[in-house]
Symmetry: C2
Amino acid sequence: MKTCQVIFQPSGRRGEIPEGKTILEAARILGVGIESVCGGKKSCGKCKIRIDSKNLDRHGIHSLSDHLSPITEEEKKNLTEYDRSQGFRLACAATIRGDVLIFVPEQSRTGNQVVKKDATDKKIHLNPAVRLFTVTLPSPTLDHPLGDFERLSESLAEHFGLHRLEVDYSALLALPGALRQGKWTVTAAVRMEQEILAVFPGAVEEAYGLAIDVGSTTVAGYLCSLRTGRIVGTESFMNPQITFGDDVIARISYVMDNPDGMDKMRGVIIDGLNHLLRTVTGDHDLSPADILEITIVGNTVMHHLLLGIDPRALGFSPFTPAVHRSLDIKARDLGLKANPAANVHFLPIIAGFVGADNVGVLISEEPYRREEMTLIIDVGTNGEMLLGNRERLLSASCATGPALEGAHIRFGMRAAPGAIERIRVDPETFEVSFKIIGEERWRPEFRITGALGICGSGIIDGVAELYRAGVIDPSGRFRTGLATSRILTTDGQPEFVIAWPDETSLAKPITISQQDIRNVQLAKGALYAGAKLLMKKLGIEKLERVVLAGAFGSYIDKTEAMFLGMFPDCEISHVSSVGNAAGDGARIALLNRDKRREAEEMARQVEYLELTLADAFQEEFTSALFIPHMADDFPHLPSIGKP
Amino acid sequence: MKTCQVIFQPSGRRGEIPEGKTILEAARILGVGIESVCGGKKSCGKCKIRIDSKNLDRHGIHSLSDHLSPITEEEKKNLTEYDRSQGFRLACAATIRGDVLIFVPEQSRTGNQVVKKDATDKKIHLNPAVRLFTVTLPSPTLDHPLGDFERLSESLAEHFGLHRLEVDYSALLALPGALRQGKWTVTAAVRMEQEILAVFPGAVEEAYGLAIDVGSTTVAGYLCSLRTGRIVGTESFMNPQITFGDDVIARISYVMDNPDGMDKMRGVIIDGLNHLLRTVTGDHDLSPADILEITIVGNTVMHHLLLGIDPRALGFSPFTPAVHRSLDIKARDLGLKANPAANVHFLPIIAGFVGADNVGVLISEEPYRREEMTLIIDVGTNGEMLLGNRERLLSASCATGPALEGAHIRFGMRAAPGAIERIRVDPETFEVSFKIIGEERWRPEFRITGALGICGSGIIDGVAELYRAGVIDPSGRFRTGLATSRILTTDGQPEFVIAWPDETSLAKPITISQQDIRNVQLAKGALYAGAKLLMKKLGIEKLERVVLAGAFGSYIDKTEAMFLGMFPDCEISHVSSVGNAAGDGARIALLNRDKRREAEEMARQVEYLELTLADAFQEEFTSALFIPHMADDFPHLPSIGKP
């Protein structure tokens, strides 16, 4: 196979490219970013590049036009006469036939390439830790019998300016075979311009990474292309540690009470993550060894248990973690069956109960860049809060329990197909409409499968709606004598039917019980009280912005959340619901290594407030158990029929 | 327990030291080098230090004399009146009672501490990669609930100037337990001022390392104190890969012929090294986890097989290794059961058949610092040679076979107790005297145990002596008609009795056979021919210096080696026999990290000569099979009775 020398300017990247590849393909192989909105379909015209008149001439071909395929009809459409006279071509259309020198103009470069975050307008600057570089080495001779690694190093230095590279042991083991299998053409995965992580025979274009959010209840993984930033696949599973205890305190207790508790809990989560690695890659014809970088967020206890660090000290005052700073650990050392050389980056933690998940929220939401006083609530099995702006940031943690995630709720379930994620109750008729995950439209009009339970966003909707419809009073108690057959009594306790038996797959009704409502009140009361104490500490009376984050079924309905009294009053248009911001943070750190430094710096600056030490907590908590609150005004809530 | 703040100048090292420790002990804990020839017995007076008049005064004690124990009689003997008036004390005698500021004068510092190499005058500058630092941390409080790692980092930065330390994962796992067990006093093992490798509860003074020479036939390990450089223990064993083939070519063939050959050979050597780690530490009440650094030398094939790198490419021209440069790999990644975080440093290699063992010889002998044209022969299962001086260095490798190590010899054995290591044959009577390893004096006068066989140095002596006594002629054939009963005939072939049955533990005589002599001739002929080709390449006629290295029973007798014709003529006083220089090189690299850089640089500069490509090799080899040589003169050999 004939190869051609291709040089890109202004980056200076160069390499041997098989004849017949397009310039766009060559750019990908050599790690040069060229814009391509249409994905190489020759329609968008964004990939305009200029062929430099300096002929490389190695093969003695003097007419430059012979070095590329003839101009196509699509190019004629997308290039002006003037463009063409200046040597412009479309990178996706022109194929390489000889040595070429290519200039990539500013507007065609992807140096500022951004990826949209799901469902938000945030953009992620692409600057991954791991990049691929393809080189063709001279074969060794008796006169120049230089070692395989040294020849690879020299090539990477010459063509890509990568000097003094280290090599991971596993990559070194793979190198002799890869070189010979690839007939001296290999692709090296290089981390941070410092270390060769892996080598693959031949030219490989795509590198993958995995961002993981390890929650106490739910673990979510995002498989991403490190080249484009695209989410290739998403997968979540229930944290298998749940069998050892629902929340972080229960899991610390399990470690204290069982000599092998630590090993067991670490074992099940590592097994779970390895299963995730297999399934999320298998779904896209990849193998776990294709995962070259992993980022992980999680609360401090999940972080310690996953690492195998004894979490005992987190169970007692002063709740000292083993480590705050971010960690970089090889996948093989953790027992994660990704590429053995893959680096696993754990985001830093703020305090014993404000973990790396909150740091994920921090770099995703960036309150430290804003003027407005912002409250960010990350609702998980624990509720963590950040309050502040560019001047100062406070954090706190409240033991909410897992009710707002749908656990400790009679028909609660995690956000999975079949879960009721939206509920509306008509205040006149008490009739219910709902929407389940996996279906597009609301019930009762639209029905395909039966409901299986209620997830976090559903339970928040449900309790808020029961209050708005007057089914429960501000103290959370069921009112009596309402004209509806939806209120049943079981074991002397009232419950409200959300879905009748024929709407479920359970052969029984799905209800919200008095106890469910109590659990939601305890959780939301803790959040509200925590927010009030943070506001007092900062000396502010009003919130200018509220962000609701959490891995719910869908985004929390912000109006319902305010009706429930999850946070103090705020102008509704300044409240936003952002979904799994912790997971977004993991993804951002995966795709942009600069954000890791930002995470490290900001995590150090956030001040932690230990709520359990605040004298006023109990008082605030008691008032906050009411829906929406015993005393506080909510001028921004729409008035409702029967308060 | 009361602790006192101790600061050493001019290093600025400081720390909390338990009351009652001597200043010398404090210096060791804090990593400050103070000379002490008598080992703290108060007799040598080398550990003079000066107490600074600046009182640290934290405990409010204003009289400086109260901060140390009163002056002792031994100190009065070793210190002048003037010394005492200036505040001088002996570090080994003065015990700490309060905060003190100590000045260590130039002559008492061990910055230039040296360790004698066994039986040679070489000195090793001590600068190990791993050092211990003991700190006592403030305990965490709710106001300052900083993570364990961050408190340790802050303390190491404050007291020892160690900033931005990384931490090995295994050290991080051990940290919370070690801190609490040590009541907030821990000793951190820090590598290259960069990474915390391990943490131990309380104050630990001694750090250990292991230097390993992996030969094709014999593996030797040297357990060393990284603080003093002392060899704490030595142990060797036969390379278990020997069951797969005697030499490197046979082992490469085994990999080619057996799909699991690589794994098997790697498995047995790793098992062997793990056994070595257990026994060499166990003999000194240590555990393998106490080994914090390992250096390894070995020929290129041993190097590849130990790493698990396919050695196939080393079996064919152009004999390309996978890697030349030195490697640093965690013990756990290699499967070595030292401290899991221990770094294993593989010295670099020069070429396919001039390996890291030769680089060990190189940094041990340092021919690149000399003016004289030096030939260094490292006799192992392969014979490697270096020839040159500070201007230029050449290397080559000869397939000698293992005869010079005692293998492929009928009664050959490795250098172990019971092996005959020295032989003399009386040219008049043909009577034999010999010496066996483990006994002080020569036989037949001195006899305790029976001989078991003949090791490398013994076989060289034996063949040379048979020639000097006229038992064999220059072509190696037995002469006929000699008046001795020591020549037996077995299967039609003559053999010479070295030890009669009653001198052995074998119930039969130990002999040197015609075939043994042939094998020694083949080996020494290859060495001689190689040396001649290197001399030709450099354009020199005479050797100015010869160094004989190899892991024999004892050092080769240089005169016998020259009688045998192992190398071209040289003034005998300029020939030296240095024992296992490769192992010495591993030990030097273990104790002095600067020599690793030197090894890397010099390995690059040595030019490799492929002898098999040289037309003249066969001709030189044929002439060199004669004893000492068919044609060359040896003006420096003493004349002998019956040549």
